[in-house]
């Protein structure tokens, strides 16, 4: 399994919802990448330019403010009140 469900969520609605191959964000401990099958975990996100790769290998960029990253068994959720898709 190389894909996972990714949800980039803001209070005004989902900025993105679909399959992704990888996700790169900036946590409190530094940059981190998420692939399918990651252990369930939660971390705080720092404001940064982030990106994710779609199954067709295209890269999508987005700017993220302070928020949370929630990795569950089949779902990765980025939660922030400030997200701008590029």
């Amino acid at each position: 399994m190389t894909e996972f469900d990714l949800k980039i969520s803001t209070p005004a609605g989902d900025a993105f919802s679909g399959k992704a191959v990888s996700l790169s964000v900036r946590g409190t401990e530094g940059a981190l990448g998420i692939l399918a099958g990651h252990v369930p975990f939660v971390t705080v996100l720092k404001p940064a330019d982030c990106h994710f790769i779609l199954p067709d290998n295209t890269q999508k960029d987005f700017a993220c403010g302070t928020g949370l990253l929630l990795v569950e068994k089949d779902l990765v959720t980025v939660l922030s009140s400030e997200i701008t898709m590029k």
Binding site: K7, P11, A12, E29, T43, L70, T77, S81
Partner: protein
């Protein structure tokens, strides 16, 4: 007789103009309800994800002594109540139900959100009114709730506040809305029971004991207490924004139903008055003819 006809005509005109108003308000509410419920479902999804994270954090061992979970040690802090009500009236019992529930809470400070709520607090308990809040529910933005949440968290950490509660209106269906009182902080009064119900357990690298079946495990980076400290303002902001959106959808739904009922009642009232007016008019004409005929016969 002619005085009665004049009075009936004036009443029909008055009911007619009220009907125009109720019909217009019903149409406006019907137009807004789709957008309001859409915004509600969007913010609900965000709130649910936030609640999952906070439930997992609140149930973890690292956070058991956190001020956010247990509340401040000394009991001197205030109880802050956020009251979300509508921007306008003519929405059935929507505003009154929220205020009735808020009146039953022993709060030291009230943060009103929505014009009606601001007016009510200013009129009934101006000494309790907070400098925070205000504004309208329709144009309440995520930035507004973030600013409010950050300010509340700072005061909570300083020990100024011991409890934060919120009165909002839950949107059940378009016909049913219920005023609800919920606690935002400390988490031991709201999220912790939920966390236990959801079966969250914190996962530790050194954990060797057998994991109980059905439990959900989660890791926190760098650690649960630090994540909780940063996550709480985001959580409060999300919940306040979500409840404002929910209350706004409830207000619109309540107004649509109230105006629909008012329009129906208005139509019935206008029909009855028209019947009465026609009868009176016909009676006057018949009397006039009788008088003319009687006069001609002499």
């Amino acid at each position: 007789m002619s005085a009665n006809i004049k009075r009936l005509k004036a009443r029909i005109r008055s009911v007619d103009s009220t009907l125009h108003l109720t019909k217009a308000m019903q149409l406006v509410a019907a137009g807004k309800i789709r957008k309001a419920t859409e915004q509600l479902s969007n913010s609900r999804k965000y709130c649910e994800s936030m609640r999952t994270v906070i439930s997992a954090l609140a149930g973890s061992r690292d956070c058991a002594d956190s001020i956010y979970v247990t509340g401040p040690k000394d009991d001197g802090g205030k109880t802050v109540l956020i009251v979300i009500a509508g921007d306008r009236g003519l929405a059935g019992g929507y505003n009154a139900n929220a205020f009735r529930l808020a009146d039953g809470v022993a709060a030291d400070e009230i943060i009103p959100i929505g014009r009606r709520s601001v007016d009510r607090v200013q009129g009934h308990a101006p000494e309790k009114k907070s400098a925070l809040g205000g504004g309208t529910t329709e144009h309440f933005k995520p930035e507004d709730s973030k600013a409010l949440a950050v300010s509340l968290c700072e005061r909570y950490l300083a020990g100024e506040i011991k409890r934060i509660q919120i009165v909002s209106t839950a949107y059940v269906t378009i016909m049913t809305q219920t005023a609800v009182l919920s606690t935002l902080l400390p988490l031991s009064e709201c999220v912790l029971p939920e966390s236990r119900r959801m079966g969250f357990r914190e996962m530790k690298a050194q954990d060797t004991e057998e994991k109980p079946e059905g439990a959900r495990f989660m890791e926190f980076e760098p650690n649960a207490a630090e994540v909780l400290g940063i996550a709480i303002p985001e959580y409060l902001s999300a919940i306040i924004f979500g409840l404002v959106r929910e209350s706004f959808a409830s207000e619109i739904a309540a107004r649509r139903v109230a105006m629909d009922a008012a329009t129906k009642n208005g139509i019935v009232m206008k029909d009855n008055l028209s019947l009465e007016y026609n009868r009176a008019r016909q009676g006057a004409i018949t009397q006039e003819i009788t008088e003319i005929v009687a006069g001609a016969g002499r």
